[in-house]
């Protein structure tokens, strides 16, 4: 028996900050959680389920700091995909009767802490089985996404201009967002003129690096219906961990192919039913490949699909990331999954910016990716929401 329809997202809050050198991560969590609970019309005493990741900085310490009392805890850690998975896990927990009100929270300060997110070498823990066969070659995060982009260009003739048009679309949306880190319209030329960090990805193919966070509240139908907010029902979800298949590497696909399949099947809808999509956007290539893998277009056609404003609300067929996304607005703690959920909830409620609100947001989608890069083991998670 699936969890479809067994829980609602009743509260959502994105911290307005993008640079928070004077706040601790714990404080940012607390502000996000209070914001989400206030949004829902619930209090911290109502909370009996909690989800965050190990960067919280330590789940048990955060629970104690907040003085909440969860009967259900999930700290699934898959980078930016974590929060999309947490929502699904919350539905299952609520549906099975384990808890009633789950708070999911993210916060971090990569900007204040000066983290070289995309270009620093990562890892070095030889306890990780692949480390000795990867670390010596100095792959950076952006480099490992670039490997997927390079292969996609080779297989399908995808171009840098097509990738750039994804950033352009996000910037068209970000200009309406007073909190966006990067608020001005970007052109294809500007993306292509920005420095090449790891071929074929330029600096402008990358998301912004921001402090901040967000939180959502997931609760059972009886509680949600007693609150004053529009009803956003969780209709379908799926997740998948895509490894490197013992060395039989195929960089054409991401885990979104499998996570999307499960979510669409549970929801009983097709890609053509989706009115708005939040697509994980750490890098432009990630957006393009997830759009293909979710079935919005055929594999290999992603370049054509994202061109000519097709992702721009009011202009194209698939309005995406109308808050400006990670590419232009916010990618707090280098984990974009929470903001993807929050903008999908805004659209579902009719509370996105009026210039960008889709007219009939009956079914919307949020896609998360994380824990690794497209060309290294990563997690994918898909969430489908329905406005009741």
């Amino acid at each position: 028996m699936s969890g479809a329809g067994k829980a609602y997202i009743a509260g959502a809050f994105e911290h307005p900050t993008r640079f928070a050198p004077d706040k601790t991560v714990g404080q940012l969590h607390a502000e996000c959680i209070k914001g989400a609970l206030d949004d829902a019309g619930l209090t911290k005493d109502d909370v009996d389920g909690f989800m965050c990741t190990g960067e919280a900085p330590m789940p048990l310490a955060l629970v104690d700091y907040l003085n909440i009392k969860p009967r259900f805890l999930d700290t699934t850690e898959t980078g930016g995909a974590s929060y999309v998975m947490h929502v699904a896990h919350a539905v299952d927990a609520i549906a099975s009767g384990r808890c009633n009100v789950v708070v999911i929270s993210l916060a971090g300060r990569p900007r204040s802490e000066g983290r070289r997110v995309g270009t620093a070498l990562r890892g070095g823990n030889v306890g990780v089985p692949w480390m000795q066969f990867q670390y010596p070659y100095r792959p950076t995060l952006i480099g490992t996404f670039a490997l997927s982009a390079a292969r996609h260009f080779h297989e399908y003739g995808t171009t840098s201009e097509q990738l750039a048009s994804i950033k352009v679309a996000a910037s068209h949306h970000a200009k309406y967002n007073p909190n966006a880190f990067l608020k001005r319209e970007i052109t294809v030329e500007e993306v292509l003129d920005s420095p090449m960090i790891s071929s074929p990805l330029h600096r402008m193919d990358c998301c912004v690096i921001t402090d901040g966070g967000g939180a959502v509240v997931v609760t059972r139908p009886e509680i949600a219906r007693g609150l004053a907010r529009p009803l956003v029902k969780i209709r379908g979800y799926g997740e998948f961990i895509r490894g490197r298949d013992g060395g039989k590497i195929d960089l054409r696909y991401s885990g979104a192919q499998e996570s999307g399949k499960d979510a669409f099947e549970m929801a009983g809808v097709k890609p053509s039913d989706i009115k708005y999509a939040s697509i994980y956007d750490c890098f432009t290539i990630a957006v393009l490949m997830q759009i293909e893998d979710l079935g919005f277009c055929e594999k290999g056609q992603g370049g054509k699909f994202v061109q000519d404003g097709n992702l721009i609300s009011g202009v194209g067929k698939l309005p995406f990331n109308t808050d400006g996304g990670g590419l232009c607005s916010n990618h707090p703690d280098n984990r974009g999954g929470m903001t993807k959920i929050i903008e999908a909830v805004r659209q579902s409620r009719g509370e996105a910016h009026p210039a960008l609100q889709v007219p009939d947001p009956s079914i919307v989608l949020a896609q998360g990716l994380g824990g690794g890069a497209l060309s290294t083991p990563h997690a994918a998670a898909t969430l489908i929401l329905e406005r009741e």
Partner: protein
Amino acid sequence: MADQGRAAQRRARIFSASVWQGGHDEAAPLAIGSCLASKREHASLSTAKHPHPQIGSSASNPDLKPYWEACSNGRLLYRRCIACGEAHWYPRPFCPFCFGATEWQEASGEGEIYSLSVTSDPEAPYAIAYVRLPEGFTMMTNIVDANLDRLVIGQKVKVKFAATDQDMSVPVFAPLGVA
């Protein structure tokens, strides 16, 4: 040697600061761009300039001892399943396809570039790549001894071993013939 290491680290930190403050600001220094402009020819065997002290140590991964010994002798080993016959990468004592037992075999050293990306770096750009081997797997590596601008997916390459700062060897790949 140690001084060079420290100098490299200092340069890396300065570079990181300039990239960091750049972000998306208009005033971003073009540190990365100027890096790419230089040293395009014959990239150095610059793997493991940031070595991890335990990579290659038997203490952390005793099952890999023969692999690292073979590397130091210029041989690339991999493992193949005794039960189902499939080769896999990176080497494991069990088969990631059928969980059968596996044994060491030696690779021919031939390969073909499956994907590559030239990464900017304050010292010299370098190429990360996935190379597909005829033995039946694809591995992450660096492409060396090459004009990085002229590397292409599909290009044939051959393994060689790059010495690291810690008297180890790691397999890298160089184009066949003239780069």
